[in-house]
Amino acid sequence: MIKTTRTTLNYLTGILTTIIFVFPEVIRAQSEEVAEIVTDSLFRVDRINALIFVVVFCSAILLYTKWAKAGKPLFLRKIPGLDAVEEAVGRATEMGRPVLFIPGIAELDEIETIAGVSILGRVAKITAQYDTPLMVPVRYPLVLAAGQEVVEQAYIEAGKQDSYDKDSVRYVAGEQFSFTATVNGYMMRERPATNIYMGAFFAESLLLAETGNAAGSIQIAGTARPEQLPFFIAACDYTLMGEELYAASAYLSREPIMTGGLKGQDFVKMLIIVAIIIGVLLATFDVGEWYIHLFEEV
């Protein structure tokens, strides 16, 4: 595995050096000709930097996904809040009270919702083992279908098919605030021991977290919306921030698509950091303006 990574790295470094060293020459020597080509040809020569970036990005994602599917062990670091999930479900069992899980309030085409639903699968497995009641309110019919499938699967895998309750995943309301009002009502009446919020949340984040806090539940949240994170950080016991949500779902589900995508993005992220450092050095010593122009968007 290390060997393949290295070969790919070599390969990609090759592409990168070509971009860095060959490309500026072309631009410098033929900038006038390029301008002509740009206006003449149907192909947008001026967008070739974007083309290279897109190709590098797509190859990284696809290669890592392929490796993940082939069963290569790809390391992902553990995220601190994750242990808390297990503990919190355990606490609910001790107290004999239910666990509330909300996979966000967005449609299933939102990547955060997909991450939320796959974490739900993991949580359902734990509740199945401990026979803890689980309640999952959802806002869209598609999320309902996916959620039910995931939870049922988890109960089957835990060998607790009989205790699976089809109504545990429930369509509540289509409108944002009616959804929130219903869930808040549930929290105050049933007082779940643990509330887990994983997915896309909007203005209702504070309403949910505040009510849960008032009801005395342990709360764990995860969302990629920076504008809602301060409220979760303030009102919940643990919060997964931004991409940690995706990493958590990849870590828990071990789904090759998720893991591969994440590793591919990590790889590109490293390339970006290196590119930035090179750029900063060049700018500081006032050389290689062409390099910075490579990142021009047109």
Binding site: F57, L142, E210
Partner: protein, 219 residues
């Protein structure tokens, strides 16, 4: 057929839009892209109607089966039809129909829907205040940094607070704008934007290639 056709459709439509980006607008693929974009606005428009149909169905079932709160669902149904019917009737029948100034549709929007939407959000000010009182605690170093920055920003953005900050020597307001908002905050937002963009791009790639199919309703 049930899965392969949709995957082929997603692949072709996605690929055309990606490739067309690298060609001039007046090329063949450029015009195909434009056609696809027009189609996208048309087909996508129908998805909005799906949501409406769902609401009507759910409310209707609740009323029919006399579920708890069915009376309220009648109001929802009334709301839908009061807004929709006058809007779709031809303007030539009456100036009250259609969607322009002075129609029923416009009136319902201005005097009912719009004020209700703004009130819903306005209640959040109350909740934030009560959360400020009970939830926002300096439990850790991180939470302390968050709270101090938040309070400084809140002061800076109000005239009274700005006057207070100006009493401290060293032009704090412009310092906050340059180094906190335009410096540290900007850098983090940029990091988050790059990360989120990579995530969205990788999701898009998987949809185009048919690896990700959860949107079809299957895991």
């Amino acid at each position: 057929m049930r899965t392969s056709l949709p995957i082929a459709v997603a692949f072709i439509s996605g690929l055309v839009l990606v490739v067309a980006f690298f060609f001039r607008d007046d090329s063949l693929i450029g015009s195909l892209r434009q056609e696809f974009i027009v189609w996208l606005t048309i087909i996508g428009g129908f998805t909005l109607l799906l949501g409406v149909v769902s609401i009507v169905r759910v409310s209707w079932t609740a009323v029919k089966r006399r579920k708890e709160g069915w009376f309220y669902k009648i109001l929802t149904l009334l709301g839908v039809f009061a807004m929709a019917i006058p809007a779709v009737l031809p303007v030539s029948w009456s100036p009250l129909f259609g969607r322009s100034d002075g129609t029923i549709y416009d009136w319902l929007f201005n005097y009912m829907q719009s004020p209700m939407m703004s009130t819903m959000f306005a209640t959040l000010a109350f909740y934030i205040a009560s959360a400020a009182h009970r939830a926002f605690r300096a439990r850790s170093a991180e939470a302390t940094i968050l709270l101090i920055t938040a309070c400084a920003i809140m002061l800076w953005r109000i005239p009274m607070g700005e006057a207070m900050l100006n009493m401290i020597p060293g032009d704090l307001p412009s310092w906050l704008n340059t180094y906190v908002m335009g410096g540290a905050n900007m850098a983090v937002q940029r990091g988050i934007i790059i990360g989120a963009a990579l995530g969205a791009a990788s999701m898009s790639l998987r949809i185009i290639l048919g690896i990700e199919r959860m949107y079809m309703g299957k895991g």
